[in-house]
């Protein structure tokens, strides 16, 4: 477990006990808001990501359909369709979906008002074999069309063949979230391991990484100084399994990611340039023998339930024996994997006692006796941001679903997309 009370954490607990004694500083339970929800969009097909434009318009992706924008008045313009769609302003026939792959994350340039640039992450058949790409587009003034497609990253690995694993179909583990850091202005791209045990620790492929690039896809200059010799300079952190969420701490700017565990240990990690997240599912190392299709990620028992701690000993999400310097998670979901997906910080005052918390979402899995766990949790980070001091489940006013994406709107409300096909807005009052 990651929540050993370190001396620092104990200090923080003592400090908060002191604070609680001061009446004004007390942020008690009575200060937590009531939540209501509105359905922003429904009838969508596997909505995957959202990003807001300065005027409140919302870009969103559907995994097998493409990119659309919901205008502030509620109208929807369909912008870029994938292969087999007909009702979009533009159709990009190379973009396809398969299994977990398809069109995933979307981001808006910090200088959107000047350059009108937006970005999507999608599987593409433009190269052979297919890859995942980060694509930049220019959105026109009336938000009805995009132009000037530029693929700023072309070679994020894609899983082409099925393998003998749970969720072993093609298209597995792409990561796929895109977000600009408000702090350093770079675009962060999260990727996944494709059930390929070679990717996480390799420095010359872009799978199992968090990438940090500029708007043209060029490496952020500080990456290479931090990563091991010979790494692709776009790599910011490595050794990840499947990162579907990233959010930036409102005060420190530090990136926090959610890393989907196999049959155990969903993780939240606080990133530092060059860090290794310690995932290495290769066979014939770290006490393991051969594994199905050369990937030990779900071993020692990939088909049935088993105590998570035993799994963690055999196939750790963070292997600190092999990699003593590996970054330890700030939170590990009590050793369970319930499909952690997205992350967003609640920054507006209207969240009351929950202001500053990191919201993390779960798809829910329910494999082998694990409680399904579909929910949104609100994590209170310690002052140093290295550990989690409290976890409160958000009382979701619309009930539970496969929560796929979280993003905070310009209104400070929390927006969530669910695989069932809706996007909800959650408003504290």
């Amino acid at each position: 477990m990651s929540q050993k009370p370190s001396p620092r954490a104990l200090g923080a607990i003592a400090a908060s006990a002191l604070m609680a004694a001061l009446p004004i500083a007390a942020s008690s339970d009575t200060d937590t808001p009531e939540l209501k929800h509105t359905t922003v969009l429904s009838g969508l097909e596997n909505p995957w990501g959202m990003a807001f434009l300065p005027d409140g318009a919302m870009l969103f992706t559907e995994k097998c359909r493409g990119l659309s924008v919901r205008l502030p008045d509620g109208d929807v313009n369909k912008l870029v369709g994938m292969s087999d769609t007909e009702d979009y302003a533009t159709t990009a026939d190379d973009l396809f979906c398969e299994g977990q792959a398809g069109m995933n994350g979307v981001a808006v340039d910090p200088d959107f008002e000047e350059n009108r640039a937006v970005y999507v992450y999608s599987a593409s058949k433009k190269s052979d074999p297919p890859t995942n790409r980060v694509i930049r587009l220019t959105l026109n003034e009336d938000m009805s069309q995009t132009s000037e497609r530029t693929d700023i990253i072309e070679e994020i690995p894609y899983k082409e063949e099925a393998s003998d694993h749970p969720f072993g179909g093609p298209g597995a583990h792409n990561g796929g979230r895109l977000r600009f850091s408000p702090d350093d202005g770079f675009l962060y791209v999260t990727t996944g391991d494709n059930h390929n045990s070679q990717l996480p620790q390799s420095g010359d492929t872009l799978g199992s990484k968090v990438l940090r690039i500029d708007r043209d896809g060029e490496a952020a200059p500080d990456n290479a100084e931090a990563t091991p010799e010979g790494f692709d300079p776009r790599i910011f952190t490595y050794g990840h399994r499947n990162v579907q969420g990233i959010a930036f701490h409102p005060e420190t700017g530090r990136p926090y990611i959610t890393e989907h565990g196999p049959w155990h240990n969903d993780e939240v990690n606080a990133l530092e340039a060059g860090a290794n997240s310690g995932w290495d599912p290769r066979p014939n190392m770290a006490g393991r023998e051969d594994c199905p299709d050369d990937y030990c990620g779900y071993q020692p028992n990939q088909g049935e339930g088993m105590e998570p701690e035993k799994r963690d000993n055999y196939m750790p999400m963070t292997d600190t024996d092999t990699y003593p310097e590996a970054m330890e998670p700030v939170w590990d979901n009590n050793n369970l994997s319930q499909g952690i997906s997205s992350a967003a910080f609640l920054t507006d005052d209207k969240w009351g006692a929950w202001k500053g918390r990191l919201a993390v979402s779960f798809l829910g899995i329910g494999f082998g006796g694990t409680p399904t766990g579909q929910r949104i949790d609100l994590l209170e980070l310690s002052d140093d941001g290295e550990s989690v001091e409290d976890v409160t489940e958000l009382p979701a006013p619309m009930g539970s679903s496969r929560f796929r994406a979280l993003v905070v709107g310009p209104d400070g409300d929390l927006y969530t997309a669910v695989d069932e096909g809706s996007i909800y807005r959650i408003t504290p009052e």
Binding site: P166, G169, G303, E304, G366, G368, R402
Partner: protein, 105 residues
């Protein structure tokens, strides 16, 4: 009387039609909500890696569930479905098939 019933039963087995082996759809509904909806969706539309169950007749559902219960693979993600079928009884399968085939069209 007994023979008649047996004959009727045999006829059902032979024809194997959906109506003849009708399970209890309302029992199927609560089992579905409890054990299946989190993957296949509340209305069986399918999500992410989980297939849609829409438009399938009862026979199809039953034969799939029986195959999975026997631990046999069908598609690439059978490993996820097999543990969910392994605990089902024959009547659970009938009930689920009745519910799914009549509700998700």
């Amino acid at each position: 009387m007994k023979t008649q019933l047996l004959c009727a039963f045999a006829a059902v087995l032979i024809t194997g039609t959906a109506q003849a082996q009708d399970g209890d759809a309302s029992a199927g509904e609560s089992l579905y909500a409890q054990s299946c909806a989190q993957c296949h969706g509340p209305e069986g539309k399918g999500m992410a890696s989980f297939p849609s169950l829409e438009g399938r007749d009862a026979e199809y559902i039953k034969s799939r569930l029986t195959t999975y219960r026997d631990g046999e693979k069908v598609g690439p993600n059978s490993g996820l479905m097999i543990p969910n079928a392994s605990k089902l009884s024959d009547s659970d399968i009938d009930n689920l098939a009745a519910y799914i085939s009549s509700s998700f069209e």
